[in-house]
């Protein structure tokens, strides 16, 4: 193997730590922690790109550096793009977290409505379906849906 392509163990450890910390934070419910996790993990992946490009060399400009001494410019271009994307997405998620705080006084990722409804029915040990097709209005399912939506502060349109 070309010695230049042997990965640097220190960088590999940095990648592992960043991604592990990122995954840990992403398992949280609060959006602000999740976004910090995503930033850490994506920075870890960016470092991984640098490892993928091999050992550092001179600037990859024809005429300035000998071709054999050049750094691989492609991963750097990829990392630059990835950083810009992460920046934009981070801005959006922070705005969304703020909006969530404005509305609900918290920025948590909330339960799936369906999950919550099923959990409640299971807790009450009730029937999942009380629908007899007889045309009566306002079956259990619908009332449940309305309540489930109200819990999250939602207003049904019309």
């Amino acid at each position: 193997m070309d010695p230049d392509m042997t990965p640097n163990i220190l960088l590999a450890v940095v990648v592992a730590v960043l991604v592990a910390a990122g995954v840990y934070l992403m398992l949280e419910r609060s959006l602000t922690r999740i976004i910090i996790g995503i930033i850490l993990a994506s920075n870890g992946i960016n470092v991984l790109f640098l490892i993928a490009g091999g050992a550092a060399g001179g600037p990859p400009i024809v005429g300035q550096t000998d071709a054999a001494e050049m750094s691989d410019p492609l991963p750097q271009a990829l990392v630059l793009t990835a950083i810009v994307i992460t920046l934009g997405i981070t801005a959006f998620v922070l705005a969304m977290a703020y909006r969530s705080w404005q509305l609900n006084r918290h920025d948590e990722v909330q339960d799936d409505l369906e999950d919550r409804r099923i959990a409640r029915i299971a807790a009450a040990n009730g029937a999942i379906f009380a629908d007899d097709d007889s045309g009566d209005v306002g079956g259990d399912l619908d009332e449940d849906a309305a309540v489930a939506r109200d819990e999250t502060g939602g207003v049904r349109r019309r």
Binding site: M26, M70, A145
Partner: protein, 527 residues
């Protein structure tokens, strides 16, 4: 290489230019409408021209004149052009629908100043993903369309949408991270992100590493395509968005994931080592998805579950990994984009007319809105696969391909797809009966549905039926596309003619310097 290669970037450039103009003219709602409409109409025209032209051979453009494999290239082959053509048709119809809705409702649901630029960016992102000949550029395409979709799904920022949007955004971010990680590992293993060059190099690397790369890409695309067990985010987040947004998401976003799976499985990993896994995933997606739909009492949620379920059909076709299976899968994607978008648009009309999407509160619509009943019935039967509609033809193609393969797992999938079709029929007929036939729980005030909304939904219904009419030539086209995909050589040859580099002008530069010297570091050491 060809006179018409200037057509290839147009489906990306036109909507992006339109988005910029629409954003700059945010004070002038009328101008924005004209710009969006013009941009998407021209995109459709360009896509149709591409569709017709690439039947003679793929068109390749090296962006910025940098040769592949170093530069980014756009490749329009049969599959990409077919997906582009159908997606531009659908995006245009949905735009008309939302314009009509905006005229009728005063733009509160879909504020023009934000909605139009974002929607155009979404269209551009979808086009980038379809045309990209480069794995990293595919990632960029995904990010462009996802960033636009984040804005669209949280449009107007109500509590309900922020709740649904949060789940959607976090899941999408996670899949993007996995995709980016897979690209980094791919580059580390092969020294390239160009798909044609990857197709040449991946067989040369360690098979274990190649399998890891394949599975990571499948995981990332599986989340985007909503394959069970990675599908739970979809039915909860889609229905809360405005009707046109849900419609275009349902039609296009998951299909971009399916397209990415199809492209990577056929071009990069032709060995079919993940086929059994994909088959099981397809079976689970079909059955679990449709059982979810059967249990639903809200028409939008019901449709979201049928969307998840029918992704299974496409994965089934891909997992068969022979020409007949891939051809049927491509046909099914085209059918499903059209029909699923139509159903969500019609669900928006039902909500408007009946005042709810809950099947318990709807009723008697067949009497007061007979046209709406027809508009729902035709795509519903099309989705369930009733002859002679295109859904039936796609399913028959898949079942034939499955029987031809003849392994026990393939037979299980054939059985699963028949059961899923029947349950789809059950779920949709139940919805139709409740919404249109049951005694109306309460009288709704008579109203006229805006003509533009009905017209654009109707035009998509007609397009869906039209797919049946042109099914012969279309199926022939998908078979040729599948032939290309399985053969791989047409794609690789057109991107890297003569096994060398692309035909951008950057080889002038390399000729000035010493060609031999420059190639080595960039290629990461060719063996």
């Amino acid at each position: 290489m060809n006179d018409l290669s200037w057509l290839v970037p147009l489906p990306v450039v036109l909507p992006l230019t339109g988005a910029g103009l629409a954003l700059a003219l945010w004070r002038h709602a009328h101008a924005q409408r004209v710009i969006s409409l013009a941009a998407l109409t021209l995109t459709l025209a360009a896509s149709l021209a591409l569709l017709w032209h690439v039947d003679t051979g793929p068109l390749v453009v090296d962006a910025g004149g940098w040769s592949a494999p170093v530069g980014i290239n756009l490749v329009a082959d049969r599959l990409a052009s077919l997906m582009l053509a159908i997606s531009s048709a659908v995006t245009l119809a949905v735009l008309v629908y939302s314009l009509a809705q905006g005229v009728a409702d005063g733009d509160e649901e879909t504020p023009v100043a934000i909605f139009h630029p974002t929607y155009l960016v979404l269209a551009a992102g979808v086009a980038i993903a379809f045309l990209s000949g480069d794995l990293f550029n595919l990632f960029v395409g995904f990010e462009v369309l996802l960033a636009a979709s984040y804005v669209l799904i949280t449009l107007s920022g109500s509590a309900e949408r922020v709740r649904a949007g949060t789940i959607y955004v976090v899941v999408a971010l996670l899949s993007s991270l996995i995709f980016l990680l897979a690209i980094a590992l791919t580059y580390a293993a092969t020294g390239t992100v160009n798909m044609a060059q990857l197709a040449q190099r991946l067989p040369e690397i360690d098979p274990g590493v190649a399998l890891v790369l394949q599975l990571m890409l499948l995981l990332a695309f599986g989340i985007k395509a909503a394959i069970f067990p990675l599908s739970a985010w979809l039915p909860d987040s889609y229905p809360t968005a405005p009707a046109p947004v849900t419609a275009v998401f349902a039609g296009l976003l998951t299909k971009v994931g399916v397209y990415a799976i199809l492209r990577t499985q056929t071009l990069l990993f032709p060995g079919g080592r993940a086929d059994d896994l994909l088959m099981w995933a397809a079976l689970a997606t079909m059955v679990v998805g449709i059982l979810g739909a059967v249990a639903q009492n809200d028409i939008k949620r019901l449709l979201s579950f049928t969307l998840v379920s029918h992704i299974g059909f496409m994965i089934f076709g891909i997992a068969l990994s022979d020409e007949a299976g891939v051809a049927a899968a491509v046909f099914y994607v085209v059918h499903h984009i059209t029909v699923q978008t139509t159903l969500f648009l019609v669900a928006g009309l039902i909500e408007r007319r009946g005042g709810s999407t809950s099947l318990d509160q709807l009723g008697g619509l067949a009497k007061i809105a007979p046209l709406l009943a027809v508009l729902f019935f035709v795509p519903a039967m099309n989705l369930a696969g009733i002859p002679p509609f295109s859904g039936f033809l796609g399913k028959v193609g898949l079942i034939q391909a499955g029987v031809a393969v003849g392994t026990p797992l393939a037979y299980a999938l054939v059985a699963g797809s028949v059961v899923t079709s029947l349950l789809t029929l059950y779920a949709l007929v139940k919805a139709w009966n409740k919404a249109f036939w049951q005694t109306a729980p309460e009288q709704v005030a008579p109203m006229h549905l805006p003509r533009g909304m009905v017209g654009s939904a109707a035009s998509l219904v007609v397009l869906g039926v039209g797919l049946t009419v042109v099914a012969g030539p279309l199926y022939g086209y998908t078979e040729r596309a599948a032939g290309d995909l399985r053969a791989r050589a047409p794609y690789i040859e057109s991107v890297l003619p003569g096994g060398g580099r692309g035909d951008g002008v950057s080889d002038d530069v390399t000729r000035d310097a010493d060609l031999e010297e420059l190639e080595d570091p960039l290629d990461g050491g060719e063996p």
